[in-house]
């Protein structure tokens, strides 16, 4: 039985989350993400899931961390100002290794900015918004179906590696409607966190120093363990030892680095023989794809590389591609953020050009085409 539906990106994210087993949502309303909260308020109580509208976004992320510690799959959704408020506790989840998912439907910032217009200017904040070196995974859907798929993936990654995962969409992806063929729920791969089997000798943060993931007990199961945002040793209790902190930071960062080949996700078109490579994600990739096709029709060998995992970036794939192309254009709706990572990866193997747009409108395909054809804007 095929299940075809017309839906918007925010709904697809929510449906994806429910399919992944999300059973706790806490949030605070903010455009253009609110539909996620509204739909969770409708759906969760029907299946015994828990919904709560918190007093602010700091409380929202705190509540989902608390919920996840009791064994729930928990999520929140927000946009710019709310995402800024969440930063401290994103670091808390990263250090305490509590799996959570955050949907950030980007709008134009800084500050209140343009609440109803899309942007991609939280790329760096999503990676580095909280203080301190920390692991985080960021996924960027490029259409409505991917909102569904990547939200499931976000839960799976967060459960497997015990990291906060951010699904970075934008106002256009969140609100546009597309026909989505939903998979049979039974065919969807669902990952659940690994839990300890016995209470005897349980050490909540015991793991292979080389990026291992500790087993996670749930509160209320009799393990009676301690969780703290202070650096802690494998027992979970605070430790002030510098070498212990260093080992923890290294293990946490290594966790995601090691996972990269498995979680890596991207889309390419016409990259086998291309001279001009356009790199774009999310809604910018829609116009870029159209531009690449138009360029091909004009006889220019253009291709598109669209990362779906943007942190960690699929580095080895781009590295390979960059050896074969003459130019790289990075199109993004910000003043040039992801381009910095791409310049780092490509080094000097090919010139990397930054195509930016910050007026709250999508790129028009002609704008990207113009860049491909050499008329730098």
């Amino acid at each position: 039985m095929t299940n075809v539906k017309l839906m918007q990106g925010n709904e697809a994210c929510t449906l994806g989350a429910l399919t992944a087993g999300m059973d706790f949502y806490a949030g605070y309303p903010i455009t253009p993400s609110t539909e996620v909260a509204e739909m969770c308020a409708v759906e969760l109580p029907k299946t015994g899931g828990r919904f709560i509208q918190m007093e602010d976004e700091i409380g929202s992320i705190a509540a989902i961390i608390g919920a996840a510690l009791t064994g729930r799959k928990a999520m929140t959704a927000t946009s710019g100002p709310g995402f800024s408020l969440m930063q401290e506790n994103i670091g808390y989840a990263a250090l305490t290794e509590v799996p959570i998912v955050i949907i950030n439907v980007q709008r134009v910032g800084p500050s209140t900015g343009m609440p109803t217009s899309p942007a991609q200017s939280d790329v760096m904040q999503a990676r580095w918004g909280t203080h301190g070196d920390h692991p985080v995974v960021v996924l960027a859907p490029g259409n409505v179906k991917e909102c569904f798929d990547l939200t499931i993936k976000a839960f799976n990654i967060s459960e497997e590696y015990r990291v906060p995962v951010i699904v970075l969409t934008d106002e256009v992806i969140g609100h546009m409607r597309e026909k989505v063929v939903l998979p049979d729920p039974a065919s969807v791969k669902i990952v659940n966190r690994s839990k300890p089997e016995t209470r005897t000798g349980y050490k909540p943060y015991e793991a292979d120093p080389d990026g291992g993931v500790p087993l996670m007990a749930s509160f209320g199961e009799g393990y009676r363990y301690h969780v703290t945002g202070l650096f802690h040793d494998e027992t979970g209790f605070p430790s002030n030892k510098g070498e212990n902190a260093a080992a923890s930071i290294k293990r946490l960062m290594r966790k995601v680095e090691k996972a990269e080949p498995d979680i890596r996700d991207y889309f390419t078109e016409n990259t086998d023989d291309c001279d001009v490579l356009v790199v774009a994600f999310g809604s910018s990739a829609m116009s870029s794809l159209s531009a690449v096709r138009q360029a091909r029709a004009k006889g220019v060998k253009a291709g598109l590389f669209r990362p779906k995992t943007i942190w960690p970036f699929p580095e080895t794939v781009l590295d390979e591609l960059s050896k074969r192309v003459k130019r790289i254009i990075v199109a993004e709706m910000n003043m040039g953020q992801l381009v910095l990572e791409i310049q780092r990866i490509v080094a000097c193997r090919a010139p990397v050009e930054s195509l930016t747009k910050v007026n709250g409108e999508l790129f028009r395909p002609e704008e990207v085409l113009e860049a491909i054809m050499g008329g730098k804007r």
Binding site: K5, P45, G48, I52, G59, A62, P185, R224, H226
Partner: protein
């Protein structure tokens, strides 16, 4: 005492608090109240924020969650809403609870979510070495109030009552037995309960304000506190400069997670043929 010792993580002791600090007395009162009720250790979650007071859960043998500054109640809300069967207790300081955490405090009270909140009020930011808090009395010295605090302070109990808490009480580290009784009653209230435990920070509040030793501070509590029952028979002039202790408010009301459970039960009756998985999207009618 031995009955309550089982609730401590003895291997974590001795604690980090200064000699004479009142936080240990408050923690002891909480543990004894828990022991009186014979709560199952595995069914209790203790959540705290950041501060000297918020270090207390680390010494207690429950699932314990030491969170970020001011956010204990928001984390605890997630725990309680997820698993209403768990007994959730928050240990917080006056700064943690009423400054950075003030918003979560009034909203947890408004929801009447079943969380017992012990506010360890030493009228100062102890952990960061003595800055004034929203509960530092006017005129007192803090490192950031070197000429005397010029701000007005909160009346925590009235704040909690106005915001919707259904059990509110106050005692001090001097009145440890009363404190224990009040915490026990707070734990029994199915709703948001607040016990303000006035406690001494001899190191920062005491020293800077020349309040003497910990014992002098405890005597100061003894002299300034009036039991609410006794106060009823006292002339207003006698109550000047005093503060009330005892049970200040006790009016049970419907509780947040229980109401939610009821909603779930109602909806599940309506949708009981639903097998899980991807369901119809309510907003997908166009």
């Amino acid at each position: 005492m031995s009955e309550s010792m089982k609730y401590f993580r003895e291997q974590r002791l001795p604690h980090i608090w200064c000699p004479g600090c009142g936080h240990g007395t408050v923690t002891g009162a909480l543990v004894r109240a828990i022991a009186r009720l014979n709560l199952d250790r595995s069914n209790v979650v203790v959540v705290s924020g950041i501060g000297c007071s918020s270090r207390a859960p680390g010494y207690l043998d429950f699932d314990t969650l030491h969170t970020t500054h001011g956010r204990a109640l928001a984390f605890a809300t997630g725990v309680k809403h997820s698993r209403p069967n768990l007994k959730v207790i928050v240990m917080t300081g006056d700064g943690d609870c009423t400054a950075i955490g003030g918003n979560h405090f009034i909203h947890a009270a408004r929801r009447n979510i079943d969380i017992t909140t012990i506010v360890m009020n030493n009228n100062i930011y102890g952990m960061t070495s003595g800055q004034f808090s929203p509960m530092t009395p006017k005129g007192m010295i803090g490192t950031t109030a070197p000429y005397g605090n010029s701000e007005r302070s909160f009346d925590l109990a009235n704040l909690a009552i106005a915001a919707g808490a259904t059990y509110v009480a106050r005692a001090t580290a001097y009145h440890a037995t009363l404190l224990e009784d009040l915490i026990e009653k707070a734990l029994l209230n199915k709703g948001f309960s607040v016990v303000e435990a006035v406690t001494q920070c001899p190191t920062y509040l005491g020293r800077r304000n020349k309040l003497g030793t910990a014992v002098d501070m405890l005597n100061w509590f003894k002299e300034s506190a009036v039991n609410i029952k006794a106060a009823k028979a006292m002339a207003p002039e006698k109550l000047e400069g005093k503060f009330m202790i005892g049970e200040l408010y006790n009016k049970p009301d419907s509780e947040f997670t229980a109401d939610y459970d009821q909603l779930v039960a109602q909806l599940q009756r309506k949708f009981d043929n639903f097998q899980g998985g991807v369901r119809e999207c309510a907003q997908n009618s166009d």
